[in-house]
């Protein structure tokens, strides 16, 4: 076999040149060949790892934000029903509030289980009682609430059908007391759940999300009761007003703080949803309720029904919007690297 002669190629010539320079100088100072497509994207302190997000997006299905809404409304309805009962308010109001609570008590676990994919997986939730896990505390609250609210409604149903008796009265009262106790955390724990996470837009709001979600739940519970025929009740009007005022303040709080972390609440699709939910939960019901206060006729009652409906729709959108904001926040690679503070002083 003969030794093949080196090909007469400009690249080969270039290699020979580099070799000669290396031999002569001990180092190569000439510029290299610029590859096609250069300059390539780089990883750096400013650009992170090619801008690939560090955090993972929430893996929840649509059932979870709906569960936040149902749980918030049911928990608040149970609390209001128990207090209405204790203060001797309208019997029908108490009955309807209990019905909303019991409906939520049935729907909530169904939604939560649907998110898990396989029903028997829910049983694993009952292995441990873990105060440091908001999810664990939430599940136990849900279980307590579900049992209590449905027992109350069931006892009241039996009493209506077969007449009063001591065991029924004990069950009804105990159930109501437990619904009150479990309903309070149940109406707002979703705020703790998403607040105590690594998602920047959520944990930045850990201190006000539970209150925000509570107001949202109260507003929708009042709305549901008004739609159920309690549009003349003054106490509900006052509570609805309180919730709407709080939601207005919450909206102001979000809009007035200039933090890049809060961008998902103001910009993009999630920002539009947050604003839509906020307007429907705060200013709209507030105005309608104030206007309805000037009249007494069917028109003012209709205004209250619309205010209630607005709060309900607003609450559903708000829960969904916050989850969407979490997605957007997780996708923002700048935030966990602390790179937002510099660009947006």
């Amino acid at each position: 076999m003969s030794n093949p002669s080196p090909p007469q190629d400009p690249r080969e010539e270039r290699l020979a040149e580099i070799r000669r320079e290396a031999e002569r100088e001990g180092t190569v100072k000439q510029r290299g060949v610029r590859p096609a497509g250069a300059p390539f994207p780089i990883a750096s302190a400013e650009t992170g790892y090619y801008g690939i997000p560090l955090l993972k997006e929430p893996a929840w299905t649509w059932q979870i934000p709906l569960y936040f809404f149902v749980g918030g409304a049911a928990g608040a309805a149970a609390v209001m029903g128990a207090i209405a009962n204790a203060t001797g308010a309208d019997r029908r109001l108490v009955r309807d509030a209990r019905f909303i609570a019991a409906s939520g008590a049935v729907l909530s676990p169904a939604l939560l289980i649907a998110d898990l994919g396989r029903p028997e997986r829910f049983l694993a939730m009952m292995r441990v009682f873990k105060p440091r896990s908001p999810m664990s505390m939430g599940v136990w609250t849900l279980l307590g609430f579900s049992g209590a609210a449905s027992a109350t409604a069931f006892a009241a149903f039996l009493r209506g059908r077969y007449g009063p008796s001591l065991p029924l009265r004990v069950l009804e009262n105990a159930g109501e007391a437990a619904s009150l106790a479990f309903g309070l955390p149940f109406s707002n724990y979703a705020g703790v759940l998403i607040g105590a996470t690594a998602i920047p837009v959520w944990n930045e709001n850990a201190g006000n999300l539970p209150m925000h979600f509570a107001a949202s739940g109260v507003g929708s519970a009042v709305g549901l009761l008004e739609l159920a025929g309690h549009q003349k009740n003054r106490a509900l009007q006052a509570i609805g007003l309180g919730a709407a005022i709080f939601e207005c303040w919450e909206g102001y709080r979000i809009e007035s703080r200039q933090l890049p972390k809060l961008d998902p609440l103001k910009h993009g699709p999630s920002g539009r949803l947050v604003r839509a939910g906020g307007v429907l939960s705060g200013p709209v019901p507030l105005l309608l309720r104030l206007i309805s206060g000037f009249g007494k006729g069917p028109r003012s009652q209709n205004l209250r029904r619309i205010a209630g409906l607005s709060a309900i729709v607003g609450s559903i959108i708000t829960r969904y919007a916050w989850v969407q904001a979490g997605h957007a926040s997780a996708r923002d690679w700048r935030e966990p690297l602390g790179n937002n503070d510099k660009t947006d002083g």
């Binding site: 190569v28 290299g32 590859p35 390539f40 994207p41 780089i42 990883a43 750096s44 302190a45 790892y49 690939i52 997000p53 560090l54 955090l55 993972k56 929430p58 893996a59 929840w60 608040a76 207090i83 203060t87 308010a89 898990l116 994919g117 396989r118 997986r121 292995r127 441990v128 896990s133 908001p134 999810m135 599940v139 955390p185 109406s187 707002n188 724990y189 705020g191 703790v192 759940l193 607040g195 105590a196 996470t197 690594a198 944990n203 201190g207 006000n208 999300l209 539970p210 209150m211 509570a214 109260v218 009740n233 006052a238 509570i239 309180g242 997780a330 966990p336 690297l337 602390g338 790179n339």
Partner: protein
Amino acid sequence: MRVTAFLTDSTLCIGCKACEVACKEWNEVPDDGFDWSGFSYDNTGSVGHSTWRHVKFVEQAPEAGLGGNDPDLASWTFSSDVCKHCENAGCLEACPTGAIVRTEFGGVFLQPDICNGCGYCVVACPFGVVEKRPGDGRAFKCTFCYDRQKVGLTPACAKACPTESIQFGEIESLRLKAKERVQELHARGMEDATLYDAADSSVGGTHAMFVVRGDPRAYNLPPNPECPTVYLKKAWTSSAVAAALLVGGSLIAFLADRKRPSR
């Protein structure tokens, strides 16, 4: 039982991905696509449910002494990423089923037969490691080769690493080794070499330490990772205030309504 750790030295990594392959083989982790990300030779982008070891290909601005002589060509370093096995692990704290546990070796282990796929660990991890596997529904992450450690074996990735870029051993001695290595690199002129172990954050240190050159942010290593339990107090206080307001407000509203004569 000795407490163990990984030390991943990016200055020794040659980007061969043997750790990824070894991990997949031993742990029977599903494939994660054979598509290139377009960012250097990275084809997976980040650790996830099917990527428990992930070799990062960090192309940075040209720097003398790194990546060859050409000032036009990016410097090129590699670093094998993995679950950090935090001292205060957000996923472990968040898990409502007790599926995620601390092993006797100090690692954070997710028991797949107990995980119910609630997805709370996914949003609780400050390093974006845990991920839900679509189709399966449960969350998966690096096991720290708990099964291998149980019988005295080195985790698959560390065993497969041909350059000892991934070292495995007792955590204190490894920490010492890491500090010595950084000093050695400094002495050799690589003054930008640093140790990343998140020891100064609420995560409280990690069982996967990294020696990197330059700013850890270029490696997607967050400067201030927070274990989400730090937000619990604020959140539950808010919850309690909300509950008090609801009870107080409802009581006042219904009592005031009762007193009105017009009813």
